[in-house]
């Protein structure tokens, strides 16, 4: 016999009893005993389809059954069930999304959804009333936005400020070859509105920042994180926690992807998993390390799946679970995640209560002064592609060290350069003469700056970093070579 506490106004239907002892081994069975015993309660608690009315929450002791096993939650004789309404409101003319209806065209379009009981008319209406914001219209954002648009998410927001590059096309399937050079958002909007003209595509052509994130996220129900860098990832996480909006998270690198749902009411957030970012440079970006083109297709569609499940309210969301996908071995692994009570943003005593400077948090400092200024100070640490070409043409003795990986060296290179990948520099620097002038370079100048710092620290006096890397060399000096 479990005890069910009856709210005061409902006691008129329970012969004035304020609590009732009932049989049943699950919440569903106990509630069924309750409405069998007091049939007038049925329409107070359940809708015509026999589901709990939208405002009715059932608590088993102190826990909402939605976060347990819903109707199937086991009930012991010592347990107490409480019926608690959800209550909200406000003076606002901004009423909650009205129960939208579907046109005949829409019913045909979504028919494969509608015939499944888990979605049905109600689920499809929820999708139409939903607003999802995709951060990034790139690798992850492409498949996610396309499937969300196709599924009929009523308002699909996109944040990006980049333009389509040839090197994007290997994976960013929102964009086509004729879109190269166009804004990613203009290209995305064209593609998505062709896919589904019934929905609204809201484009936000800005760099997401601590200044605009809360305002941008505010109108949306779910945020889909398709970012490719740590400062933005922490920014998205913190803004989601502060606003109480779920974050459908995904990330990709080479052959491996990760996905989870963060920042739900009782679930963990990204910071519960990773309180601090890795030191800058430790984890290479996709631009540095590469990524299998199809990988974002898998992870981005997982993110879209989770967003759709959250909207419809079916299944088991990827909350408190961290999914790791390995494309080479074709395996999924799942780690359990717990909400960290000491989490700086979603813990019991948060220290992060507003958005911070995420570049600084991730240890990324503003770009150094341009080398020309430093040259004037006669303290040169950098050299430009044109200066290097000039000095080589003059016959200056310059050793050029390429610190990229061997497969990058196969794509393009500066003639006469030697290859010592960044990771090998500490054990191979003795191959170099510390008194000889050295120029180090990589793809764009980041890795080689680290190599230059290291070489100086071990006594090399004349080390110059090639500003803009081999890409600038190809642009300015040798356009016959390919770029990547």
């Amino acid at each position: 016999m479990a005890k069910v506490l009856i709210p005061t106004p409902l006691r008129q239907y329970t012969e004035k009893h304020d609590s009732v002892e009932l049989t049943g081994s699950t919440v569903g069975e106990v509630l069924s005993s309750l409405t069998t015993k007091f049939p007038d309660l049925r329409k107070q608690l359940f809708n015509d389809e026999g589901k709990l009315r939208s405002f009715v929450n059932v608590y088993l002791n102190d826990e909402d059954i939605r976060y347990l096993k819903k109707d199937a939650t086991p009930v012991a004789a010592t347990d107490t069930l409480s019926i608690v309404p959800s209550i909200a409101g406000g003076s606002a003319g901004v009423a909650p999304p009205p129960l939208v209806s579907l046109s005949n065209d829409e019913i045909l379009r979504y028919s494969r959804h509608l015939i499944m009981p888990e979605v049905g008319m109600e689920g499809q209406r929820k999708l139409k009333a939903a607003k999802v914001l995709c951060i990034g219209a790139g690798g992850l954002g492409s498949p996610a936005a396309m499937y969300l648009a196709a599924a009929g998410v009523g308002v699909l927001g996109l944040v990006d400020f980049d333009v389509v590059d040839f090197s994007n096309l290997q994976r960013q399937i929102l964009h086509g070859t004729p879109d190269v050079g166009r804004s990613k958002l203009a290209s995305a909007k064209d593609r998505l509105s062709t896919l589904n003209p019934e929905i609204t595509i809201a484009t936000h052509e800005v760099a997401l920042s601590s200044q605009n994130a809360l305002e941008l996220f505010e109108p949306y129900d779910i945020i889909l994180d398709g970012t490719d860098n740590f400062p933005t990832r922490y920014l998205v996480n913190d803004a989601c926690v502060l606003l109480g909006k779920p974050n459908a998270y995904g990330s990709i690198f080479r052959f491996e992807g990760q996905a989870s749902v963060f920042a739900t009411k009782d679930g963990p957030c990204y910071r519960c998993l990773y309180p601090e970012p890795p030191p800058p440079g430790l984890v290479p970006s996709c631009a540095e390390g590469g990524v299998l083109g199809v990988l974002p297709g898998i992870i981005g569609t997982i993110q879209a799946t989770e967003a759709i499940k959250l909207i419809i309210g079916v299944g088991e969301p990827l909350i408190g679970r961290f999914l790791i996908f390995d494309a080479l071995r074709m395996r999924f692994r799942e780690l359990k995640l717990r909400k960290d009570p000491d989490c700086p943003v979603c813990g019991t005593h948060p220290t992060v209560t507003k958005l911070i400077d995420y570049e600084q948090f991730c240890g990324i400092h503003p770009a150094p002064e341009p080398a020309s200024v430093q040259n004037i100070q006669n303290n040169a640490t950098e050299i430009s592609a044109l200066e290097l070409k000039e000095r080589l043409d003059r016959g200056d003795t310059l050793k050029i060290v390429d610190v990229r990986e061997p497969n990058e060296y196969q794509i393009n290179r500066i003639p006469g350069s030697v290859l010592i990948p960044l990771g090998d520099v500490p054990k191979r620097y003795q191959e170099l003469n510390p008194d000889e002038p050295l120029v180090v370079h990589c793809k764009t100048g980041g890795r080689s700056a680290k190599a230059a710092d290291f070489l100086r620290s071990v006594g090399f006096k004349r080390v110059l970093n090639l500003r803009g890397g081999v890409l600038d060399w190809v642009d300015k000096v040798d356009p016959s070579q390919p770029k990547y």
């Binding site: 405002f55 909402d64 959800s86 406000g90 003076s91 009423a95 909650p96 909006k245």
Partner: protein
């Protein structure tokens, strides 16, 4: 209730009303302010956490009293029962709305939504006045 509503101005406040029911008369003996849990701008919206309501109900039961209703404020507008209020309410409780204008209490009304939440009947609301 008034003090809480004025303190939260220009945001909406919310809370629970505890008291006794005697026939058609509901008497509020104490009001429990609760946190407005609405995630967005709270100038014209409020949301109660069901957990807070569950706790209030437990305390009321322990004291031999009843949870009889919910109150919230409308900053700088009248104490009507808006469409938002109606759709996000529940049919079982009395809903008192306090109009707070320029940070000061102006007037209040009580509403009882019908079972289908399609309309709310205005209830007589009386309180001692100075």
């Amino acid at each position: 209730m008034i003090a809480h509503a004025e303190a939260k101005f220009p945001n909406e406040c919310c809370g629970a009303m505890i008291g006794k029911i005697d026939g058609d008369v509901k008497e509020v003996t104490s009001a429990e302010p609760m946190e407005n849990a609405y995630a967005g701008a709270q100038g014209a919206r409020y949301e109660l956490r069901p957990e807070d309501l569950l706790e209030a109900d437990k305390r009321a039961r322990a004291a031999g009293l009843d949870l009889i209703g919910i109150f919230h404020s409308h900053p700088d507008c009248d104490a009507y029962f808006s469409k938002t209020d109606l759709e996000n309410s529940c049919p079982w409780y009395s809903f008192v709305v306090l109009s707070i204008k320029g940070g000061k209490f102006d007037h209040a009304n009580s509403f009882l939504p019908n079972a289908e939440q399609t309309a709310a009947e205005k209830e007589d609301l009386i309180w001692p006045k100075s």
